[in-house]
Symmetry: C2
Subunit: 408 residues, 2 copies
């Protein structure tokens, strides 16, 4: 991508009503645009990051047998009335009205419609297990939305749902998801700060599990033992749970953390009221055993920003970066050599070919946060080289033009 | 994809409230699921078709300089009040309320927020032209929605917007889009039935242009001369237009058609009330000259179904098909050879490895509509061959196993 051909610009200032570091930086760098509190548009570079995050999640979901689908945002009341989540349980609905009559809502999550839909496809134990997931824009009518893209009124989520005959099959898959999630967070660059955390399980299960990334802007508080082998959400910090997990209160420390994923044994919570059943081998009707597994895609992007950004701007881990290389040519020979290299690898390179002073381009490269900056100038060309700078560390080296492809 | 691993099933019957051929077939074949009239979920094969259509459009949009972004569905009233489209002009809003107070709407289109956003990025003639597009779920509160995925209350659209300094630049780009659209419809397999059609232009332009695909289920009526060099929408069939286009009423024939795309010279319709201006080279403030360009992605999928389907089921053109090959092994040696071939090319093949009779598999292959069916049986293996059947024509031939890769 040539910056001269893009409409995006870096901005000096961001409206003062925006207080979250992640959103301020992403707006300044031209990755996102704020429509209202909790609703952001994704501009070309921001959309590339989102798509990279989605692709990593997609690969890991497919690897454990997930099938990708896409449900609707518009929801009719019926299935949600059966599970008691239309009126009483959730205060986060955006509700609307059909012109032809009847109330509708915008899905804040999708257990009900997916469970309901699968009644068409599941009738026998031979039809199970089923693992379906989607990347879906969710709508939640948050009273406050002050954390930038960490908490949206409209946000992108990956939600996976499992449908099994029994607890043992469910638990084996649940464990596969636990492992897939850690692979995902490692690939996304937040693995070392992300801990699987005990959280409350609801009616049917003792615990659910959250994936909490330690960050000062996180809205949750987690407690952990010294070597972080036991991590739990504040909401389950009680004597019974401590005994259960074999830890004592005074050996725990606490920190703020952001929930980037959660996995939940739903058991019969939705399948029972919605009547999702199957015939077992003996012909008996049985209720399907369910689980749900979420990752907040746009929230993950925000957490990555919060973790890596420094006082110069964004810093992207390689796997999610919008481009591999930020390329700047200086002087006429440098500009020409840069353009040559760009034209051979245009999908992987962000070329700053704008009519600006080098200093402005360097500042923008720092703000945009592409992992490797490459500068080709008349000076480096005198040594048949280009200057390579790692955004994260500032480390510099010279590479000959012939070696330049090795960084892609 | 192995059918034995997928939750989808072909269905014998579809609820009788569904009357559209496209939706009935897509539901029976397990491509989509009906949530309510005008809102359909996309199941694995349906989502693949949607993604294939998007990718073709994306390639052509990028080729003419389009930059992909993603706006929000949630809309605040302000910009729409300025253009008079919040209350009076459009009766198709879904409106909702913020928990913290204030009315919101779900975007039925995106001229206002995109124009409004670009005020941040456009200040000088040097910032123009700008061409941005998105694939966005649109919400329209249709009173009736009886055409399956041809007319949705929630549907996927590609919308492109152009921002130019002047009419000449605009018209050059407008012409590029006309050509890109015909390339898109050709690649999608509906080019020969799709005509660029004169339609009404609104306040600022005499005409807009629609891309109308001739189909008996289309909701529009178009008129055309003998060699179809002049095609116009019924809405502009009047003496002035006929004179303008140099045709006479009695030489025109009419037919039903579905609008799969439209392109529109907006001129100053949105930039003026929203104040999107730039400084020209002499420092004078000028209003940005706009155009908009839509393609109904899910509608196109429906039109493809309507055009190609036969009495056995769906028929997909090669470029949009969910898989290239539908593979069936019969008998133990046939099943083993099929599995071998599948494992080498699993991304391109739909393998029916279910425990069903061959006749049922053949019927399902016809219903699912993958372009090429390959059957490997003990009988074909005796000739070291596989049987190839074109779904569209029924033409059959034998290919040796070694030659089989040539069909991918």
């Amino acid at each position: 991508m040539k910056l001269s051909h893009s409409f995006i610009k870096t901005l000096r200032e961001v409206g003062k009503e925006e207080t979250a570091k992640n959103a301020k930086l992403l707006i300044r760098a031209g990755y996102i645009h704020k429509e209202m509190a909790g609703a952001y548009a994704y501009l070309p570079l921001g959309l590339k990051v989102i798509e990279n995050i989605k692709q990593i999640i997609r690969e890991e979901m497919n690897a454990i047998g997930g099938e990708e689908i896409l449900m609707t945002a518009l929801q009719q009341p019926e299935p949600w009335l059966k599970t008691n989540r239309w009126d009483s349980d959730m205060d986060i609905w955006f509700k609307t009205e059909l012109a032809s009559g009847g109330e509708l809502g915008l899905a804040p999550t999708h257990e009900e419609p997916i469970t309901n839909m699968l009644k068409t496809y599941i009738s026998s134990y031979k039809d199970l297990p089923v693992y379906v997931y989607q990347f879906q824009t969710k709508f939640r009518n948050e009273l406050r939305a002050k954390s930038g893209i960490l908490r949206g009124r409209e946000f992108l989520m990956k939600d996976l749902y499992s449908f099994c005959t029994d607890k043992a099959t469910h638990e084996a898959f649940y464990h596969q998801v636990e492992e897939a999630y850690m692979r995902i967070f490692n690939r996304l660059g937040i693995g070392e700060d992300t801990y699987e955390t005990f959280a409350s399980g609801g009616i049917f299960a003792k615990y659910s599990h959250e994936f909490q990334t330690i960050t000062p802007v996180g809205e949750d508080t987690i407690y952990y033992n010294k070597d972080k082998t036991v991590v739990l959400n504040e909401e389950v910090l009680n004597d019974e749970v401590l005994k259960d997990l074999g830890v004592k209160c005074d050996e725990l420390e606490s920190t703020a953390a952001a929930e980037v994923g959660n996995i939940f044994p739903l058991v019969y919570k939705y399948s029972e009221p919605l009547g999702l059943e199957y015939n077992d081998p003996s012909g008996q009707r049985q209720t399907v055993y369910m689980g749900s597994y979420g990752i907040g895609v746009s929230r993950v992007m925000g957490v990555i920003v919060e973790k890596y950004a420094d006082d110069k701007g964004l810093v992207w881990p390689k796997e999610v970066a919008p481009f591999k290389v930020h390329l700047i040519g200086i002087g006429s020979a440098g500009e020409k050599a840069a353009l040559d290299f760009y034209q051979q690898h245009s999908d992987e390179i962000l070329l700053d070919d704008r009519d600006l002073r080098p200093g402005e381009k360097f500042n923008d490269a720092d703000l945009l946060g592409v992992p490797i900056r490459v500068v080709i100038s008349d000076k480096t060309l005198a040594e048949k080289s280009a200057e390579i700078t790692e955004r994260a560390t500032g480390k510099q080296k010279l590479l000959t033009i012939d070696q330049l492809e090795s960084i892609l």
